[in-house]
């Protein structure tokens, strides 16, 4: 049974659709991330699941139970959906102590004092905030407030945890650490999580599945590897990093195992390439090669059967510490390549560049 099901969900603010006909299923125990540029409707989607916004069309079910159905004008308010939520601003109540903040959902549910004490202590220990129970909430750092917010969202054992950019207010180092810790906690408790972020790295590192959104629509849903290496479209591919797109003509197309296709391409070199789309021979396709999958080779290897190769002139070379970004002028246009930090071709030098066959992926133009 799916923990969350969204069927044809839309949300209109006035005439503009913030979320446009979204369908999504989140399985029990799964960690699903909504990813997309700012303003693409992630928060609105999350808030409709929470019940903080009412969906204009479609139906939402949580744990097999319908919580909102626009067609029937049926709507369960947020307090009766039994969900935990962590807000971007954490929303820690400044007039309460840490303990009172975390105890709030239990007090609302009229639990006994003893049970409240036990469960709050357990929740605080889970996020390693046990020592701070008696602190007034305003006397906490950003990272600590974030932990309290998670403890408060988990303390009443909600069916689903919703998180809206919970790490965006932390500094870079703390962000990675807190994210990893949260992922471990989520796996340990097995709690279904729907997570919103605009940070690709965060989405990759944390999620079981990533939902890429743009302008209110879902572009692609899949595990991080799929989204990154096997995008359905140029838009999804371009959302992560700055990949190279090389135009090529399709010579032949046959289906492969697993619903993908193998294309024979001619783009100054001849070679096979995989795609999720069937592209008829004679049409053009864009071959995506990520900069980190390209490398310089010495000597003339020619268009070998196992990959693609170009000759080019180094136009720009930027040292970035962990690696070096180089831009080459080749017959296929400008190509961006990430080299190791130790390689340092001179600007103006003629070089050979090579990309393995399995690093290329074709998308429709």
């Amino acid at each position: 049974m799916s923990a969350i099901v969204l069927e044809n969900i839309s949300k209109f603010f006035g005439a503009a659709a913030a979320v446009d006909d979204v369908n999504l299923q989140v399985e029990t125990g799964e960690f699903v991330t909504l990813l997309g540029p700012s303003g693409c409707g992630k928060t609105t989607t999350l808030r409709m699941v929470a019940g903080l916004e009412q969906n204009s069309t479609g139906r939402i079910s949580i744990g097999g139970e319908v919580v909102s159905d626009a067609a029937q004008d049926f709507f369960i308010p947020p307090e009766r959906r039994h969900l935990g939520m962590v807000f971007q601003s954490y929303a820690i109540w400044p007039h309460m102590t840490v303990f009172d903040n975390v105890a709030y959902p239990l007090r609302i549910r009229r639990k006994s004092a003893q049970e409240i004490k036990d469960r709050v202590e357990r929740a605080l220990k889970l996020v390693e905030m046990g020592r701070f129970a008696d602190r007034p909430a305003p006397a906490l750092s950003g990272g600590q407030q974030q932990r309290v917010a998670i403890a408060r969202a988990l303390v009443f054992e909600p069916r689903v945890l919703l998180l809206d950019e919970p790490l965006s207010n932390l500094d870079a180092r703390l962000r990675t650490q807190t994210g990893d810790e949260f992922r471990q906690l989520q796996k340990r408790l097995g709690i279904t999580s729907l997570y919103v972020t605009h940070d690709q790295g965060e989405a990759m590192a944390l999620s079981d599945r990533v939902v890429v959104m743009s302008m209110g629509k879902i572009l692609q849903v899949g595990p991080p590897e799929d989204i990154y290496q096997r995008p359905h479209s140029r838009a999804v591919a371009a959302f992560f990093g700055s990949p190279n797109f090389i135009e090529a003509e399709v010579k032949a197309c046959r289906s492969d195992t697993g619903g993908t296709f193998v294309l024979e391409l001619d783009g100054g070199w001849i070679g096979p390439c995989h795609s999720t789309h069937e592209i008829k021979p004679g049409n053009k396709a864009a071959v995506m090669v990520r900069p980190e999958n390209m490398r310089l080779v010495s000597g003339d290897r020619g268009p070998s059967a196992t990959g693609m190769a170009w000759k080019g002139i180094v136009k720009e070379s930027i040292y970035r510490g962990a690696h070096r970004s180089v831009m080459l002028d080749t017959s296929a246009g400008n190509l961006n390549i990430d080299l190791t930090a130790l390689e340092n071709p001179a600007v103006g030098a003629q070089v050979d560049v090579f990309a393995a066959e399995n690093s290329a992926w074709a998308v429709p133009i």
Partner: protein, 585 residues
């Protein structure tokens, strides 16, 4: 002269004096110190001097300016049973209006800031309008509306029901409280509505997610987060209620309900020989009470203001009311009708009938307009009010801008003292300040004849207005980042150029908004004016009161309408400014 150039001179110039002496002289006469010292002197003259004279006068046996002896008779004479009743009346009336006003203000602020009531922005303008109407106008209007014999409301009621007894008598405790509520509710509303607006919606949403219903969230989160601000508003409103003069004067005194302000007024104006020592001792006592209230307020709020404001410009939670939105809409309209339409309507009707209370066709007349336009005294008062308003508001705002600059944007020594001095009149009722200035002017050396001129009123108005102008300008400066100022310096502008081109250029809309506020404050002022005016320096509010006392309610209506026009005009300009400022900043 800027502090920086002053500091730089000793290093660059040949030494003419022994170095330590010279740098001492430099420090003493640097522009900064001259400014600080003059500010301290001006503010002390406006607040500390009258306060000190109040103490002096309360111990002095004769009226200001006459030889006498020092004794405690003033304090002895205020300690009696009738003054205990006066004190209880004062506190009870102020509490009695503060509690319903605050409740009403919270309700109205919630409707405007948090519901989908139609035309909320327009309603907000209407709801806040009564705050800007001089209370003396509405007091006189309600005196006519709720007069037990011929009041319009009573007449309508009798006509509609055939009853013979009047249901309404404004000359009562209820009348005093009713009138006070009309301007204290919008005053509190202005404070509270922004708190409702600025609150991070996530603070309430997270409570909903934790399983709390809307109503519980409102009680446990929204109200509790607002508690410090509500406490603050409560005490502020209590203080304003104790200081209030118009309402008890119009509705209390005729019914023998006296409060401290009217008791002070009566002891000077309505006794065979004015008892200055008694009045002054009473004034000093009320100052002590105010001081204790302020200390209480400060103690209650210590470390209890929460930052609940979001950085993001998110809209707060708006509650969809469905059909109920028409109920909340009507409620706001009803408030406007009661506080503005009824009194202004009464003034309009009153101005066109021969005698107030007798409304029939053959009584229609314009003779009151003619009478008012031919009344030289009215024109003189109008001129005085305008002159005082224009000059006074400008002076108040310039003083306030400088004080606010020194206290929020510099680290100069003495800035806290300046800030404190400027705030002092905040807790001085106009009546008390008036008495303080009576003594203060009388004690000035001979060749400074302030008393009896309009400059006496001007000084009182500047003193009373400064705390507000400082607040307006402080918050304007606080919104401007230091970077703007520093960036200008880095790009080569001097201190004065920076002031002119950056700070004033950016802060002038606030200056203008504050100016209008100060002008309103001067136009409505009665309690200090009534003590400090003399023949030739009457202001409109004083003339209105005199005409009213002579039974000329009809002419009062005409003048009241003219003042209303002025209020609406200025308020309109102010709103325009606020709007354009919000859209540009």
């Amino acid at each position: 002269m800027t502090s920086n150039t002053a500091d730089a001179i000793p290093r660059n110039q040949p030494i003419a004096m022994p170095a330590p002496l010279q740098s001492f002289a430099q420090r003493l006469f640097s522009g900064r110190n001259v400014l600080v010292v003059s500010l301290v002197a001006i503010l002390s003259f406006l607040a500390v001097y009258p306060l000190a004279m109040l103490l002096y006068g309360s111990l002095h046996s004769t009226p200001p300016g006459m030889a006498g002896e020092f004794n405690l008779n003033g304090y002895k004479s205020i300690l009696n049973w009738s003054n205990t009743v006066v004190l209880l009346n004062t506190v009870a009336i102020s509490l009695g209006k503060t509690i319903p006003s605050l409740t009403l203000a919270v309700l109205l602020a919630w409707i405007i800031a948090r519901t989908d009531t139609p035309w909320r922005d327009k309603l907000e303008v209407l709801i806040t309008l009564p705050f800007f109407i001089p209370p003396i106008l509405t007091a006189m209007a309600w005196g006519m509306l709720g007069n037990p014999q011929v009041g319009l409301l009573n007449q309508v009621w009798k006509w509609a029901t055939g009853a013979t007894v009047s249901p309404i008598n404004v000359y009562s405790y209820g009348g005093v409280i009713w009138h006070m509520m009309q301007y204290s509710t919008p005053f509190l509303f202005l404070f509270i509505v922004d708190i409702f607006r600025a609150m991070d919606p996530a603070l309430e949403e997270s409570s909903r997610m934790c399983g709390a219903s809307r109503w519980r969230t409102f009680r446990l989160i929204t109200l509790m987060l607002m508690l410090p601000a509500l406490t603050n508003s409560f005490i502020l409103s209590l203080i304003r209620g104790i200081e209030s003069f118009e309402s008890p004067l119009f509705f209390g005194t005729p019914a023998k309900i006296e409060v401290i302000t009217t008791e002070i007024y009566n002891s000077i104006n309505h006794r065979a020989t004015p008892d200055y020592q008694y009045a002054t001792a009473l004034s000093f006592a009320i100052m002590v009470m105010m001081f204790l209230l302020v200390v209480w307020q400060w103690w209650l709020l210590k470390g209890r203001t929460f930052t609940t404001v979001t950085g993001k410009g998110y809209a707060p939670n708006i509650m969809k009311l469905g059909k109920w939105k028409w109920v909340t809409f009507s409620f706001c309209i009803l408030f406007f009708v009661i506080t503005v339409v009824l009194p202004v309507g009464q003034l309009l009707i009153g101005s066109f009938f021969k005698f107030f209370g007798f409304y029939s066709y053959d009584m229609l007349t314009t003779e009151h307009y003619v009478a008012v336009f031919n009344n030289a005294e009215v024109w003189r008062a109008m001129g005085n009010t305008m002159l005082l308003g224009l000059l006074g508001a400008t002076a108040v705002m310039i003083l306030g801008s400088i004080v606010a600059y020194v206290s929020v944007r510099t680290k100069w020594r003495g800035r806290r003292l300046i800030d404190g001095l400027a705030w002092l009149p905040w807790m001085m009722p106009g009546m008390v300040l008036g008495i303080g200035f009576l003594w203060a002017f009388a004690m000035l050396p001979g060749p400074i004849p302030i008393y009896g001129t309009i400059w006496a009123l001007m000084l009182a108005y500047v003193a009373l207005g400064t705390p507000i102008s400082v607040r307006v300008m402080s918050s304007a400066y606080a919104q401007l980042s230091y970077d703007l100022e520093e960036c200008s310096r880095v790009h080569g502008a001097t201190f004065m150029q920076t002031m002119w081109r950056i700070l004033i250029a950016l802060a002038w809309p606030s200056f203008a908004v504050g100016w209008v506020l100060a002008f309103f404050g001067i136009m409505r002022e009665l309690s200090a004016s009534i003590l400090l005016y003399s023949v030739g320096s009457e202001v409109l509010s004083v003339v209105l009161l005199r005409l009213w006392a002579n039974g000329l309610a009809e002419q009062v209506s005409v003048i009241g309408l003219m003042m209303m026009l002025l209020v609406i005009l200025f308020r309109w300009v102010q709103l325009k400014l606020i709007k354009s400022r919000i859209s540009t900043l």
